[in-house]
């Protein structure tokens, strides 16, 4: 029993409450947000250093016996995600210091960010299906607040679509959750996994897996469930868009990995080819959607969808190696995508618009911004030696080794389209001549440049020193795909069913 697993949940909760309390003292609220996130980051890093050796760590809520109470489980995948969530939140908070207006700060901006971190961390750590639903709602309600905070017409319109379509996805998840309980008679994930392996009636299992695929697919914005994303993500302030791009869809990906890696592993044989098909469509339609756009953040929003295709492809390959490759890629894309949003957002802030036609000439004016943008798009496209190259290379290697040639070819081809579409921003914003005098534009503050630059540097570092990340994720992928390790960690060597029977006697 390791009760410190509650730290990444309790810290943002207390931090959020304190930040509400000290709402009027701007400096105090900022300090509280920063400290909470730093604690989570430190804990996440420590967790990542421990989990590969010890196997999944488990804590039982209120000390209840495993299949009856709510378990918290941290395996390699959870630890990685908890750490990344805190890291990305840290850069977002620093970026917010220099970009969020006082009005928003006074209207509980930092508490909402911490609430989002709370929901995300809880979703990554929980070992109970219904509890996962509750964490999803926590992070959703925080995101609802963040996306509509400010109340401009665009935000309200985009927010309405975001809210309604996400509520539909959540409702589907809730229905799936109830049906799983009706079928398996338990909500503990380890126990469900055990019973799914023994209970007959595979047809019903397929239906349940399909409902959860729909629910999490709509959260992860895979084709054809992505429409809420590009119509809302460009409306809130840049910092909010950036943290959404880093966390929201990735929670959906994590839930898909967990559902199909643990609960419905048998169904992966049925759904694998369909997931691969959806992944391919997501890659291509996402990147083609981006080609048509003429606004920095809307182009980047469509690229989120396209990149989700790669993460989901890792799942569709239906093996521990596939999950490991998907995790490496997901970690890379969370970092690089946010960096691009930060840098593109800084350019947007300088010009006061994100319209490509009205921008230009920034490479001469802000060479550092241009340099980091260019490194960022190289990484996103997958040019060696950046992290995108490693992520895609491993994914393509697994694809080839499992004879999934078509999706591998689509994934490789999409990279070229990605690079093309990113070059459009490069040409329009940084390279072409500006119609106005660029020297009249305000300089970019260091605070807007630094978070994006730091993430790009991290991407370069992950590309050059990829060994530890790849090794870590190989273990994480194995843990995520091995039901027995998870069940043993949660319920003991005899499994949950034995504990359940013993308790009933």
């Amino acid at each position: 029993m390791v009760f410190h697993l509650f730290i990444p949940i309790i810290t943002p909760m207390i931090g959020g409450a304190l930040a509400v309390l000290f709402n009027r003292q701007r400096v105090v609220a900022r300090a509280i947000a920063l400290i909470s996130v730093l604690i989570n980051l430190g804990y996440g890093l420590w967790l990542m250093s421990v989990v590969p050796a010890t196997g999944p760590l488990v804590a039982q809520g209120s000390g209840w016996l495993a299949p009856f109470g709510i378990s918290l489980v941290a395996d390699g995948m959870s630890a990685l995600m908890v750490m990344l969530a805190a890291l990305l939140m840290l850069t977002t908070i620093i970026y917010s210091f220099y970009s969020i207006d006082e009005q928003r700060e006074h209207h509980f901006y930092y508490p909402l960010l911490l609430l989002l971190l709370l929901g995300v961390s809880g979703a990554f750590l929980t070992g109970d299906l219904f509890n996962l639903y509750v964490w999803f709602e926590v992070l959703l309600v925080a995101s609802f607040g963040l996306i509509t905070l400010g109340g401009s017409r665009d935000q309200l319109e985009g927010g309405l679509k975001y809210v309604v379509l996400n509520l539909l996805g959540s409702t589907a998840f809730l229905a799936g959750c109830g049906l799983v309980y009706g079928f398996a008679g338990t909500l503990n994930m380890a126990h469900i996994a055990e019973r799914m392996a023994t209970l007959a009636n595979p047809g019903l299992q397929t239906v349940l897996a399909g409902i959860l695929l729909f629910a999490f697919g709509s959260k992860a914005a895979i084709v054809p469930l992505f429409f809420w994303l590009p119509s809302s993500y460009h409306t809130p302030p840049v910092a909010v868009t950036a943290i959404f791009s880093g966390l929201m869809t990735k929670v959906g990906v994590y839930a898909l990995y967990r559902t199909f890696g643990l609960l419905f592993q048998n169904e992966l044989a049925t759904y694998g080819p369909w997931i691969i098909l959806l992944a391919g469509l997501t890659m291509v339609i996402g990147v083609l959607g981006a080609v048509a756009q003429m606004n920095v953040r809307r182009i980047l929003s469509f690229h989120i969808i396209s990149q989700i295709g790669y993460s989901v492809m890792g799942l569709g390959l239906a093996s521990a190696a596939g999950l490991a490759a998907g995790l490496v890629f997901t970690a890379h894309v969370m970092i690089v995508k946010m960096a691009l949003f930060f840098i593109g957002g800084a350019a947007e802030q300088i010009y006061g618009t994100g319209d490509l036609k009205k921008m230009g000439g920034l490479a001469r004016r802000e060479p550092l911004l241009a340099l980091f943008w260019f490194l960022g798009i190289l990484s996103l496209a997958g040019i060696p030696p950046l992290s995108g190259f490693i992520g895609k290379l491993i994914l393509l290697q697994v694809g080839v080794s499992q004879q999934a040639y078509l999706i591998t070819a689509v994934a490789a081809g999409t990279s070229i389209l990605t690079f093309f579409s990113m070059l459009k921003i490069w040409n329009e914003v940084f390279w072409k001549k500006s119609y106005d005098d660029v020297n009249r534009l305000p300089r970019v503050p260091l605070g807007l440049l630094a978070p994006g630059a730091a993430l790009v540097v991290l991407s370069v570092a992950l590309g050059l020193l990829a060994g530890p990340l790849v090794d870590y994720n190989a273990i994480a992928g194995q843990q995520a795909f091995d039901r027995n390790v998870y069940i043993t960690a949660v319920c003991g060597a005899d499994g949950c069913e034995a504990v359940y029977r013993a308790a009933l006697k």
């Binding site: 009856f68 109340g151 509520l167 539909l168």
Partner: protein, 116 residues
């Protein structure tokens, strides 16, 4: 009993789908409300002792007490009701504000963020 519930759930889901597909924001929200009720009823049927055998309650002799229902689904529904109540309140407020900002209840007029 389970047939009646199944019909009720089907009617709620059908009505919800119809309302969600209307162009009016208010009807869309009414659809969401119906949908959440439908799902709550669906979870309710999942706890039926008839379907799964025994509720997770036993008396001293190890037998489920007579006339006991599954308490877990009721706890789940209670949680879901609270969450959906909060969300519906939020969506109603959001719809009110967006109606003020856009001056229309028609979803076709709320497409400025989707235009190229």
């Amino acid at each position: 009993m389970i047939i009646l519930l199944a019909i009720a759930i089907g009617a709620l889901f059908g009505g919800a789908t119809y309302l969600v597909l209307r162009r009016s924001v208010v009807k869309l929200i009414l659809g969401l409300i119906l949908l959440s009720h439908g799902v709550n009823l669906l979870i309710f049927t999942m706890g039926d002792g008839v379907r799964r055998g025994a509720p997770p309650l036993i008396d001293a002799s190890g037998q489920p007490p007579a006339g006991a229902a599954d308490p877990l689904v009721q706890a789940l529904i209670l949680t879901a009701i609270v969450i959906s109540f909060g969300f519906i309140a939020f969506v109603l407020a959001l719809a009110y504000r967006s109606n003020q900002a856009a001056g229309s209840d028609d979803l076709d007029d709320l497409s400025t963020t989707d235009r190229l």
